[in-house]
Symmetry: C2
Subunit: 154 residues, 2 copies
């Protein structure tokens, strides 16, 4: 069982998510960035995800909407750095909080057949970061990682 570690030290604007997968960096990176596969794992259990735009190149944009019985939530961002199978630097914004844009650095580390994905996110303020944690994002992250395991196992 692979565990998802979410770290948010008090009085910092950072959130770190670390997760290992039983697959190579190329396999994990593909599942992470293939527009056909992303809707199969990104988001919490029990909802659906519509990927409206996803152009994983420097300057490319992404946009998606999660829908569940409570309603819908839109997210968007742009890609700054794209190094295939290695690293992505991207912005992230929830439509409901347009003033809290964060910057995420995703690193795909080769553990020899296994892969460690480290997401380091930085928010424009500690309050903004705390708001994201309070929103319950942890459930969405843990669910997504478990669903990604299933996609990789196919």
């Amino acid at each position: 069982m692979n565990e998802t570690t979410i770290t948010a030290q008090p009085n910092t604007p950072f959130i770190d998510v670390v997760r290992e997968f039983d697959a190579t960096p190329a396999q994990v990176y593909r599942a992470w960035t293939d527009p056909d596969l992303i809707p199969q794992w990104l988001g919490p259990h029990g909802g659906t995800m519509e990927l409206i735009e996803y152009d994983v190149t420097p300057g490319g944009r992404y946009r998606y909407i999660h829908r569940d019985t409570d309603g819908e939530h839109g997210f968007r961002g742009v890609f700054h750095t794209v190094e295939t199978n290695k690293q992505i630097v991207q912005t992230f914004q929830y439509d409901g909080w347009p003033n809290d844009v964060s910057l995420e650095t995703l690193t795909f580390e080769d553990l020899g057949g296994r892969t460690r994905v480290h997401t380091h996110a930085v928010y424009p303020s500690v309050e903004s970061r705390d708001g994201m944690i309070a929103s319950g994002m942890e459930t969405g992250v843990r669910d997504s990682m478990a669903r990604l395991d299933e996609v990789l196992a196919r």
Copy 2:
């Protein structure tokens, strides 16, 4: 005389730059984002600036090179939010430090004929922010703001 205030609180990854200009938000925003005007003010005294790419739309990219007697320094980023005369959210990277991408929020505040520009930058770590401060960026920022005064006075 308009003063440039640069704030970098210890143990945070933030840099805040606040500067007022004797011009309207529309005038300041135009000088800030017009590819013909940017090379006339962005950068320290005594160098030249080549604007290679500048597409101020969400997902657009920018890239420029500063040259002086010490050599040349390249910078690049992508735009996340563009609200004309009001706000820009963009990434920022110095070629020499590819792992220290920062996110900048620029706000153009109308003071009634005058304008306050607030740049809030957040770095991926406190160490990364400290490195930017130690690089002498303050001189470049103060010089740029003084040169922008001259562009606006024309």
